[in-house]
Symmetry: C2
Subunit: 222 residues, 2 copies
């Protein structure tokens, strides 16, 4: 597995770097999704199911960011066959725009339509750094509880899409979907919410359709 050891950015102005990367990607007609969540919320499994719905329609690549290990990048590659690389953050708890660019520079971008960055599992720091992505999405899994938007306000404020994962175990947890939606919209009234179960595939068609639409918009803005 291709493992990239990312260096900490030496540039101070992350917002400018991010805006530049976002503009470049738009010019190329490539949509970059920054996917965030807590550790263990099911990012990789969600991606595998969704990519398998998309890979015959568009060209998708994945960058897996982790502090250590390459299990996720290997899983994605084996389960979908698409281009997948591992980014090591050297202990860093998040990616910034320059680090994201280092990842993209290591991808074969020829013909790419959609690049997905699986950020470090963390509900705090990744929300503070604009990666230059075209949009932000996050996964909240049922076992984590519906109160998370109250405790991690910034994460929910910066996300365009919230996937509520592991809905198959709703009967075993005290998770109130209506309250979850209320709290998410308290942080970001425009956020879309899609309940999914990555394990069974339920709802992933809606996530795939959302991504297809975003890719189409990015191409038309080119």
């Amino acid at each position: 597995m291709k493992v990239i050891e990312i260096k900490k950015s030496v540039f101070a102005d992350n917002d400018m770097d991010a805006a530049k990367l976002r503009a470049e990607l738009r010019q190329k007609g490539v949509f970059l999704l920054n996917l965030m969540s807590s550790p263990g919320s099911g990012k990789t499994t969600t991606l595998i199911g969704t990519i398998n719905l998309l890979k015959d329609k568009i060209n998708v690549a994945v960058m897996e960011a982790d502090i250590d290990g390459d299990v996720d990048a290997v899983k994605i590659k084996e389960a979908t066959g698409i281009q997948s690389i591992q980014l090591h953050t050297g202990g860093m708890c998040h990616l910034d725009a320059e680090m994201t660019r280092q990842g993209i520079d290591n991808l074969d971008m020829e013909g790419a339509d959609l690049v997905i960055l699986e950020n470090v599992g963390n509900l705090v720091c990744p929300a503070e750094f604009d990666t230059g992505a075209s949009a932000n999405a996050m996964i909240l899994s049922v076992p984590e509880g519906h109160d998370k938007p109250l405790k991690y306000p910034l994460m929910f404020s910066v996300c365009d899409l919230v996937l509520v994962n592991k809905i198959d175990v709703l009967p075993y947890f005290d998770f109130d979907m209506a309250k979850c939606e209320e709290y998410v919209h308290m942080r970001n009234p425009k956020a879309e919410i899609i309940p999914v179960c990555a394990k069974t595939g339920e709802g992933l068609d809606r996530f795939a359709a959302w991504l297809l639409e975003k890719v189409k918009q990015q191409k038309s803005n080119k």
Copy 2:
């Protein structure tokens, strides 16, 4: 609910601050536990069940650190009746020793035996900062998966105790307890592992006994 807005430390040497705080607590015979985990792993529920087993035997106080909100501190107070305060980190993803001291300065420490710091839900940054606690513990919940020690090495390296929570839902998740133990011990061979279910109370007697023993040791070291 008493809510303390914590200021970011202006001192550079966190390790020295931490060692100083730890020494002071030892001198007072107070054991400070730094409890860490991902968001939603069940820290507060675990604490409530465990404190209710302890509160007639020792004097316990809790500091709840969150970026926003005071739901956890209120929950602890209502469910156990013990002293509980909320620390707001002003967006910070972790606590350092000086921030922990600000919390302790706001507690009534008269007769205190055990103080528990519920750190910000985050598997990355809190592990990087010595809070000055007498010991570190973390909760890994079953839905997060048994592979977490591979991805978040530092967190598992710095913890003396790993509670594996939500064992009631083991039948619904692909969680391998033997592999979990293997991976935890790969990071820290000395880490103790206690499987618990905060919801039903299973295993919390073992956590309570572990804490009582630590408090006893701290008193004898005084």
